[in-house]
Symmetry: C2
Subunit: 124 residues, 2 copies
């Protein structure tokens, strides 16, 4: 398996709460920050604005303990399942995706169906 | 609100199953594909390899009905919650993230705690 880093040497990483399955944030890793993440079991990213490695939670204490890292079919994106300490977003929100852009007409399944799916998740 | 498209005019979009909360895929949108998505209520992306708009599921039938679009604190990433028809990945897997790169030492919470959180999700 060879991960594909882009022309800037970066790969996007989706960070997801392992328990609630909420998507918390998307950040970028370079090879060094991925190595640091694997070594420490906590998320390290590459800050594109500061051009520097960034140990998530180092100053805020809002560390992310990595439970699992998955990668996609094209090997150009990571999915990092974590246990989040505190909140993920620098705004104080739990997830960085706290704002709604658009709501469609799609209906959610009824509660019984959702419960059946959740039960399947629990059994997995 | 002004979404930030990158220097290529693209914004990454994380696609998540609204019911199971599984992360299905990450793809890219340009302004036109986002507009098409809003108009049709189904996902349209911009294919970086084919340099063309791409209506997800047009040939396979594996359409994604958009329930909600959220955007992050930096306004440079989208989270699209969908109802997935069939599977999301061209490999036939439900999610594109079907492979594990690394498993950490982090422990999952015990079942009781997970159930309490799931219940909270259901009530939300």
């Amino acid at each position: 398996m060879e991960l594909k880093f882009d022309e800037k040497g970066l790969i996007p990483a989706v960070v997801q709460d392992i328990d609630t399955r909420e998507v918390l944030m998307v950040a970028y890793m370079n090879e060094e920050s991925l190595k640091k993440s694997l070594e420490t079991g906590q998320t390290w990213f590459y800050s594109r604005s500061r051009n520097a490695l960034w140990h998530k939670g180092e100053t805020s204490g809002n560390i992310q303990e990595i439970v699992e890292i998955r990668y996609d079919c094209d090997a150009d994106c990571l999915l990092i399942k974590v246990k989040q300490k505190g909140v993920a977003c620098h705004t104080g929100n739990y997830s960085c995706f706290y704002r709604t852009l658009w709501e469609g007409k799609g209906e959610r399944e009824d509660l019984e169906e959702v419960l059946a799916k959740l039960w399947q998740i629990i059994l997995d």
